[in-house]
């Protein structure tokens, strides 16, 4: 069983789902002949043709609107944002039309909106964003943000088969940097379930996407000092798996949340509120968070490095917590 990248895992999921179900179609900019800006859809057009691999003008609102309309007839469109930053261009379609459709008029929208997100690649303010929290704040959507090739493939399949609109964030720093063996057969990973990546009893580190790897790196360093961290990878942000978080915090009594999203309004605040509501008496220390700065993502390497969380920052915060 060969090792594959996260990008290849995503590509495989698209191929396999389109092979499985003719109701699955792909729609987006440059996804056909060119194969997508990151080549996630490479080869799709040759195999499935123009009817199923729909290349659009540069019109994010039209892409999401058309995908929504197609889903009303029972298709399962997978729409691509060339960079997830451009989701801002179709914010209205996503949050007002798609997200509210089932609640306000009983019309389900079984579509996936996927795209490359995240920083660390010197993409600057418009090609590095983590806009997930705009959508975590939008009832009616599901928000998925995997950190491994295995999860990316299994979660994308689940997203395509889900009857609700799923936003599928693909961290572009991870696209080609991580490799792992992925089973050959059909499998899915359930939406809404976090996973414990590493077990420990001294503190809980909750994270997702690229920062899940940073958290694991930090946990390895902390282990050398005898601090054993429980590392949780959320995988899905909406709905949030609070059970897994609470179970861990009740065991470790300390909580550190790490995310690449900016600080104010990031999911750390929501998790902290949930833990305070449901496990306050289990806490031995204040809840800590390591996040990106409250700024746009800067372009120049030293600035971006300052902006992003890293293992050292996580280790430092964890040591503070361990003092309690």
């Amino acid at each position: 069983m060969p090792e594959i990248t996260m990008l290849e895992a995503i590509r495989q999921a698209l191929f396999e789902e389109m092979d499985r179900d003719p109701a699955v179609v792909a729609i987006g900019e440059d996804i056909g002949v060119y194969g997508g800006a990151f080549k996630a859809t490479e080869g799709l057009l040759a195999r499935f043709g123009h009817e199923r691999v729909i290349e659009t003008p540069i019109s994010e609102t039209a892409i999401v609107g058309a995908a929504c309309g197609m889903s009303y007839l029972g298709l399962r469109p997978v729409a691509e944002m060339q960079f997830i930053d451009f989701i801002a261009c179709c914010f209205n379609q996503v949050t007002n039309f798609v997200a509210k459709s089932h609640y306000r008029c009983g019309a389900p929208v079984p579509m996936v909106l996927r795209g490359p997100s995240g920083g660390g690649v010197h993409g600057g303010p418009f090609h590095s964003a983590n806009p997930e929290m705009y959508f975590v704040h939008t009832p009616g959507l599901k928000v998925v943000y995997p950190s491994t090739a295995y999860d990316a493939k299994g979660l994308l399949k689940s997203a395509i088969r889900d009857n609700n609109p799923v936003l599928f964030f693909e961290h572009k720093f991870l696209y080609r940097r991580i490799k792992e063996e992925v089973p050959a057969g059909d499998y899915t990973v359930p939406i809404g379930k976090a996973v414990v990546r590493r077990q420990g009893s001294d503190l809980t580190i909750v994270s997702y996407a690229a920062m899940a790897h940073v958290a694991l790196e930090a946990a390895a360093t902390l282990a050398k000092d005898g601090i054993e961290a429980d590392v949780i990878d959320l995988r899905t942000l909406l709905p949030l798996d609070s059970e897994t978080i609470l179970a861990s915090v009740k065991n470790t009594n300390r909580l550190l949340i790490v995310h690449e999203d900016t600080r104010t309004g990031g999911i750390a605040g929501e998790i902290a509120a949930i833990v305070c509501e449901s496990a306050f008496e289990h806490l031995d220390a204040p809840i800590a968070r390591v996040t990106a700065l409250d700024t746009p993502v800067p372009y120049s390497p030293p600035l971006e490095e300052r902006f992003l969380p890293n293992a050292e920052k996580v280790v430092a915060a964890a040591r503070e917590l361990a003092k309690y």
């Binding site: 002949v33 009817e51 199923r52 609107g65 029972g74 039309f97 008029c105």
Partner: protein, 453 residues
């Protein structure tokens, strides 16, 4: 050639228009009795648009109404009780109180997509509906409406361009009721006919008198048939007039009285009644039969709505997600193998033709006076050429209130210059001369018949 309407169909058109009007009349009364939870957006004077356009669709076709297209919902088979309960926020409404007004739909049977308040968004959505219908081999047409105001949104442009690029079986009705809330159409767009917008997308367009229900029907029916035959999207500008304010709270004092008077004489239902009488299609007895039937239906449905309960509060928490409540299955009308490999496979390369044609294009542009350095025009200059015109052009002048009721607007009103280029400016004179002397040749073929590059 559109097949003529049968006698029964002609009476049907009257029934739906009158039902539309009487229903809204009752909504206004209920509003004044404080029994309507939100607003009432009257389509008084626009009934022929909703009814005439939607009547051209077949049951398999899809539509998405706008706020003033209650008539289209009635034609598609919704009942007055649906409209009453929606406005009164009752549990028995199609949305069970989750949304109001005409914001409801039915994907399975009636093929109606529920609108949202953000204008223009339905255009890409209905384009997607049209694309999916074609993909599944259903041979459907998708239709939606947009007001004169909504044509200025980004979604309008993105959606219509995608529809054109995909040659989707999509009919867009531009319902020009001359007012976007309080702003007259001439203050929103610098063109006389909104149908002119279609040329920019390379699609066909038509203009029709929106207060003549037979003309609206026939024009739309032809467009729907052409669309179904695979000739790409069509835009129909329907010229009409909003006879009330934006909603019940708005007395519309900004509308010149002469304009209301003019359009009151164009009332679509009164005109159609005369038409039916002149053509001996009914007699007073038939009319009172239909009117009585409408009255009876509305009585029963209003009673039903008034007696219906409001939704239980706890249902507020339900239905955000589909948790198995819907079975989602596409209705295939073509073999699935057609879209699966190997049938679907193709060589993934672009074919690009005529890439040297740009030089020619530049010459054409220069010839017609699009010289660099010309400031854009800020005010509509109505062409002296009398375009295919329907009643009402004279009234809807660029200056609104003080506009004389008749006559050529361009001749009487001096250009207003918000940004410094006066009517005596040489560039204005040059531009006008260029326009008259070197008008580009009109295409005598609709875009879908022209040779494609």
């Amino acid at each position: 050639m559109t097949p003529a309407l049968t006698h029964d169909q002609k009476l049907d058109l009257y029934y739906f228009m009158q039902l539309n009007r009487q229903l809204e009349d009752r909504l206004v009364r209920l509003f004044r009795q404080n029994k309507i939870v939100g607003g009432v957006y009257s389509s008084l004077g626009q009934e022929a648009v909703s009814v005439g356009t939607s009547y051209a669709l077949e049951p398999r076709d899809w539509l998405a109404p706008m706020i003033r297209n209650i008539g289209a919902l009635l034609v598609k088979g919704f009942k007055p009780r649906d409209i009453f309960t929606q406005h009164m926020a009752k549990f028995t409404s199609p949305t069970h109180g989750k949304d109001g007004t005409s914001h409801f739909g039915d994907l399975k049977v009636r093929h109606v997509v529920s609108p949202i308040s953000m204008l223009g968004d339905l255009i890409p959505v209905m384009t997607g509906v049209a694309m999916a219908g074609r993909y599944l081999g259903q041979n459907i047409v998708a239709m939606t409406w947009i007001g004169d105001g909504g044509t200025s949104t980004g979604a309008f442009h993105e959606g219509l361009n995608l529809a054109a690029q995909q040659r989707a079986p999509f009919v867009l009705i531009v319902e020009n009721n001359q007012w976007a809330y309080s702003t007259p159409v001439a203050r929103q767009v610098p063109i006389k006919n909104l149908a002119d917008r279609a040329a920019a997308y390379g699609i066909a367009s038509k203009i029709v008198d929106g207060n003549n229900v037979v003309a609206v029907y026939e024009t739309t029916k032809t467009a729907v048939d052409e669309c179904r035959a695979g000739r790409g999207p069509i835009l129909i500008e329907v010229k009409t007039m909003r006879m009330k304010g934006h909603a019940q709270h708005d007395p519309a004092e900004y509308v010149p009285k002469a304009m209301f008077d003019y359009w009151k004489a164009q009332d679509p239902i009164a005109r159609y009644e005369s038409y039916l009488t002149e053509h001996n299609l009914w007699d007073p007895k038939k009319k009172s039969e239909i009117d009585a039937r409408i009255e009876h239906e509305l009585d029963a449905d209003q009673k039903f709505a008034e007696e219906s309960p409001l939704p239980p509060a706890e249902t507020a928490e339900q239905g955000v997600y589909c948790e198995g409540c819907h079975t989602i299955e596409a209705e295939w009308r073509r073999p699935k193998q057609d879209v699966m490999p190997p049938a679907s496979s193709e060589v993934a390369v672009w074919k690009v033709a005529d890439f040297g044609a740009f030089v020619k294009t530049q010459e054409v542009a220069t010839q017609h006076g699009n010289r660099p350095g010309h400031a854009p025009r800020h005010e509509p200059v109505l062409s002296a050429e009398k375009k295919e015109s329907i009643s009402g052009d004279e009234v809807a002048g660029p200056t609104g209130k003080n506009q004389p009721a008749t006559g050529d607007v361009a001749a009487q009103v001096p250009l207003r210059v918000p940004f410094g280029r006066g009517p005596k400016d040489r560039s204005v004179e040059l531009e006008r001369r260029d326009k008259v002397a070197e008008r580009p040749p009109r295409h005598n073929k609709p875009p879908h018949k022209r040779r494609r590059r």
